[in-house]
């Protein structure tokens, strides 16, 4: 392991910890919901007079909450494993967005991918997995902390695969001071323009 990769790996572990801590409340909340709704179904089903109408809404709610748990857990587990290289930009970005968007919703904030097909079409990058994750995760964390509304998109026609993170309400997003330099060491170009950040990955 080179000095650069060990440093970026350590940074990714730190970012992953922050992601896990932010999404833990959402995962636990959804699990609680499943537990409570299953208990409603169980106790009502035990009664001879129970009707399907009395059970259905709670079974549906438990099912939806279970889907949420699965989605969040899958994203977290996916990010906890080493990235498969070459790295798929969309896969890594969507995992981070899934975890951060759930936590943001709890704070009445909104993070969403504006153009999913464009993001999916970004393809792969030669940059190391940890570097890609650090760049996406820290930029999105900074954006969500700065603004109540964050849009993530992939501009069509860019010379390199690029993600654009924007705060439509014009709030200023400020990145960690060394992030641009750390990312540049892995060939990732981060440009900050007040309320927007662009991340360009090497092909």
């Amino acid at each position: 392991m080179t000095g650069v990769t060990s440093s970026i790996d350590a940074r990714w572990l730190d970012a992953l910890q922050r992601l896990a801590s932010r999404s833990a409340h959402e995962i636990r909340g959804a699990l609680n919901g499943v537990s409570v709704n299953v208990e409603v179904v169980r106790s009502r089903a035990a009664k001879a007079t129970a009707s399907a109408a009395a059970l259905e809404p709670f079974a549906d709610a438990a099912s939806a909450q279970l889907d949420d748990v699965i989605e969040l857990t899958e994203a977290l587990l996916g990010l906890s494993r080493p990235a498969r290289e070459p790295v798929e930009i969309a896969t890594e970005t969507k995992r981070v967005v899934t975890l951060l968007a759930a936590a943001a919703r709890a704070d009445c904030r909104r993070l969403h991918v504006d153009d999913v097909p464009a993001l999916n079409s970004l393809g792969i990058t030669s940059a190391p997995g940890s570097a890609v994750r650090v760049a996406v995760c820290e930029c999105l964390l900074a954006a969500v902390d700065a603004s109540a509304k964050i849009k993530c998109t992939a501009p069509v026609g860019a010379s390199a695969p690029t993600i654009l993170i924007a705060a439509p309400d014009g709030e200023t997003i400020s990145l960690p001071s060394d992030l641009v330099a750390v990312a540049a060491e892995s060939g990732i170009d981060i440009q900050v323009d007040a309320s927007a950040i662009s991340i360009s990955f090497p092909r």
Partner: protein, 491 residues
């Protein structure tokens, strides 16, 4: 043990949990409501009664701990069960220390939900018991208190009934009573129980102010109305519009101000001194006097037309000697109040002090009793107030000798003897030896009579059925000495 239809409030922002929890508790027979944050929960709890509130520790606007604090500060009755994530167990323990009934940790699995189902009926039972206690306390308080007035005698109950009846109307009220009987407190009660309670209450003592100043206070003045009046000033009528004016010692008001007052009452309009403009006012007048009204009317001190305007409803406030049943209650209340204010640990009056308090005729009424107790509390050195602490120096030295003892026809000889002993004892400043000498009996007999009086018996086991003349010179008998005796715990 389940309390069907008891109200439960769930205060939690996580809809994923609240709807299921609500269904589970509804199935258990509770009436369940949901508040999505602590602030909304507080609003609901302020408006309605909930036996139990299930509060999440982490909520927007007002978290579980802050909600608990607010409930306690505002004295909102409910039992609070805190729901918490594992990471916040310390806070839940803190909540318990602050008065929460219990806490449940998330995740709310079947085991925890069963625990919750078992906890809620117990919490509701505690709430119901405390609710009954609160109602009982309030009912007991209602038996002895009415607003700021204290008294449970029939005479005071009649006063309370009149206040209840007259307060909602706009009728003028005239309060008659000796100095120190609490006329202003009655006026305040009339105000606070009326729809004008949110408006101002303005009290003016007509005897305490020179004529010109009283006129100025009542009606105000325009700028330049008289030498030195550099600014305009609204009077009491304007300032208390929408509220109540209390005019104490109204019979002391000069005749020309009485004319102006009468006009203001009739037209509901006032004119400031030096002013030309009529100002419409919305005012209720409560007046009071300690003068002999018939004499005041006959001698022209009080205009008859003003009297009839003021005395739409008349409240006769009894003197303390006419409600001697209240003396003990008042003395005890003043003792507690002044001991607390002065940081003194005084638990009671001693037997001799009680004897004197109950036998003295309190010409200065409640005010005199209050001042005497305050002075006694300050002077007392032990944990009980003695007769020398409570009795004013001038009575101790000279003795206030009552001129007569009134005995009802039909009273027994032992009753008459007891009244004579009691009044003489009071007149000697609580000196049993001197009492005995004056009455020509043995000091032990005097002590025996006094003791029997305090114990509510006539010495041969019968209940004492008369009122000591010193406590009821007006002869309004019927309130037995048993009612006047200090309670057993006091001795």
């Amino acid at each position: 043990m389940k309390q069907a239809n008891a109200k439960v409030l769930i205060a939690d922002d996580e809809q994923s949990i609240t709807s299921g929890l609500s269904a589970i508790l509804s199935d258990e027979g509770y009436s369940v409501e949901i508040a999505p944050d602590g602030q909304k929960a507080l609003e609901r709890l302020s408006e309605d009664r909930y036996g139990v509130v299930l509060a999440d520790l982490k909520m927007p606007k007002l978290d579980g701990l802050a909600l608990l604090r607010e409930l306690q500060q505002r004295q909102i009755p409910t039992e609070c069960i805190i729901i918490t994530g594992q990471a916040t167990v310390d806070s839940a323990v803190q909540a318990m220390q602050q008065g929460a009934y219990d806490y449940i940790e998330k995740p709310l699995n079947a085991e925890k939900l069963n625990r919750l189902k078992a906890l809620i009926p117990k919490a509701i039972e505690k709430f119901n018991v405390q609710q009954k206690n609160r109602e009982l306390t309030s009912r007991l308080e209602g038996l002895t208190h009415y607003g700021e007035l204290t008294g449970q005698s029939d005479a005071m109950r009649e006063v309370y009934q009149v206040i209840d009846a007259v307060a909602p109307s706009n009728a003028s009220v005239l309060i008659l009573g000796e100095s120190g009987t609490g006329k202003e407190l009655v006026a305040r009660a009339v105000h606070s129980k009326s729809e004008r309670a949110k408006g101002p209450f303005f009290a003016l003592n007509c005897a305490a102010l020179p004529k010109e100043i009283l006129e100025n206070e009542l009606f105000g003045h325009e700028k330049g109305a008289f030498t030195g009046s550099t600014n305009e000033k609204p009077g009491a009528f304007e300032m208390s519009s929408g509220g109540t004016i209390f005019l104490d010692e109204v019979a002391e008001m000069s005749p020309d101000i009485q004319v102006k007052l009468l006009r203001a009452l009739e037209t509901r309009q006032v004119r400031r001194l030096g002013g030309r403009k009529e100002i419409t006012v919305d005012i209720r007048i409560v007046a009071a006097t300690n003068k002999d009204l018939q004499k005041a009317l006959a001698e022209g001190d009080l205009r008859e037309d003003l009297y009839y305007r003021l005395a739409v409803v008349q409240i006769d406030l009894p003197s303390l000697r006419e409600r001697s049943q209240d003396v003990q209650l008042l003395a005890t209340e003043f003792l507690e109040r002044f001991a607390s204010q002065n940081g003194k640990r005084i638990s009671d009056f001693d037997t001799a002090a009680w004897e004197w308090i109950l036998s003295y005729h309190w010409p200065g009424n409640v005010r005199e009793l209050k001042n005497a107790v305050e002075r006694a509390v300050i002077m007392a050195r032990g944990d009980k107030i003695g007769v020398n602490d409570i009795m004013p120096r001038h009575l101790r030295n000279a003795g206030e000798v009552p001129s007569s003892v009134t005995i009802q026809v039909g009273a027994t000889v032992s009753d008459a003897r007891r009244q004579l002993v009691l009044r003489t004892f009071a007149s000697t400043g609580g000196d049993a030896e001197r009492t005995a000498k004056l009455l020509g009996v043995a000091a032990d007999d005097v002590r025996g009579d006094l003791l029997a009086l305090i114990n509510g018996s006539n010495g041969d086991g019968a209940t004492n059925g008369t009122t000591p003349s010193g406590a009821d010179p007006g002869g309004k008998a019927g309130s037995g000495a048993a009612k006047k005796s200090p309670p057993a715990k006091k001795r």
